[in-house]
Amino acid sequence: MSEQTLHDIKNTLHRLELMSELLSKRDFTTFSESEIREDVKADLAKLQQLFAGISTDR
């Protein structure tokens, strides 16, 4: 796995963490709930894509 993939996974996980914080606190001051949930959906898809791209061949 490349360093870039690892970096992208870490960043995406961190974004999801931030969004879970906003949702759990119901803080929609800056972003609406639907905006945040759309971002969550997009990031989960991105994570799936990143993991699918990790080769396990030796």
Partner: protein, 195 residues
């Protein structure tokens, strides 16, 4: 978090006490995430006392998502002042005076919905019960939005980045044994400095 973006000389009275000119644009520097420590009530913190005078710089701290503020807190941008002065005099970079363990101490973040007037509320730093620093973000030379905009012109911004928005006047030394209190809206937290 990817990085901590810090503003220098963002309060006129602080620039004056440091005998420095007012900046035309926000002055920016970075701290790595390894400097960050989230404070807890009554926690004991040990600082590198053997490296010279350590000054407190009390600052409003912003947490960003998509280049917008999503949470706020109050923190200390700690500075090895003697070392910083020596490095400045030689014209050298002064990161080593700003980047050490616990040099970015931050109280737990507060959601904006729980602190509606954070842009105008007075924040305060007390050391052993004595008020050392007191100001409001409205006294700053550059607003949070202007600072974020300027940082975005110069750095690749990542979600979760923190912004230390600069310190007002009253910076001064900390010592082992001090009890330090941060007060701002719903934040009221005291911690101890250990030997």
């Amino acid at each position: 978090m990817d990085k901590i973006i810090c503003l220098g000389k963002n309060y006129a009275a602080h620039a004056q006490e440091m005998k420095e000119a007012l900046p035309e644009k926000p002055v920016l520097f970075l701290k790595p995430p390894s400097c960050f420590t989230e404070l807890k009530e009554n926690v004991g913190i040990t600082l590198p006392w053997s490296r010279g005078t350590i000054h407190h710089e009390c600052e409003v701290v912003l947490k960003l998502y998509k280049k917008n503020v999503i949470a706020v807190s109050l923190g200390l941008d700690l500075t090895l002042r003697d070392l910083q002065k020596q490095l400045k005099e030689k014209g050298h970079p002064w990161e080593i005076s700003k980047c050490f363990k616990h040099s970015a101490l931050v109280a737990p973040f507060v959601a904006q919905r729980d602190f509606a007037d954070w842009r105008t509320a007075t924040f305060r730093l007390k050391v052993n019960g004595e008020v050392r620093q007191e100001a409001s973000l409205k006294d700053a030379l550059f607003s949070p939005d202007a600072a974020i905009h300027h940082a975005n012109d110069h750095f690749p911004m990542n979600d979760g980045d923190l912004v230390f928005t600069g310190t007002p006047q009253g910076v001064g030394p900390l010592n082992p044994g001090d009890n330090v209190t941060l007060e701002w809206g719903p934040i009221n937290l005291t911690f101890r400095l250990l030997e």
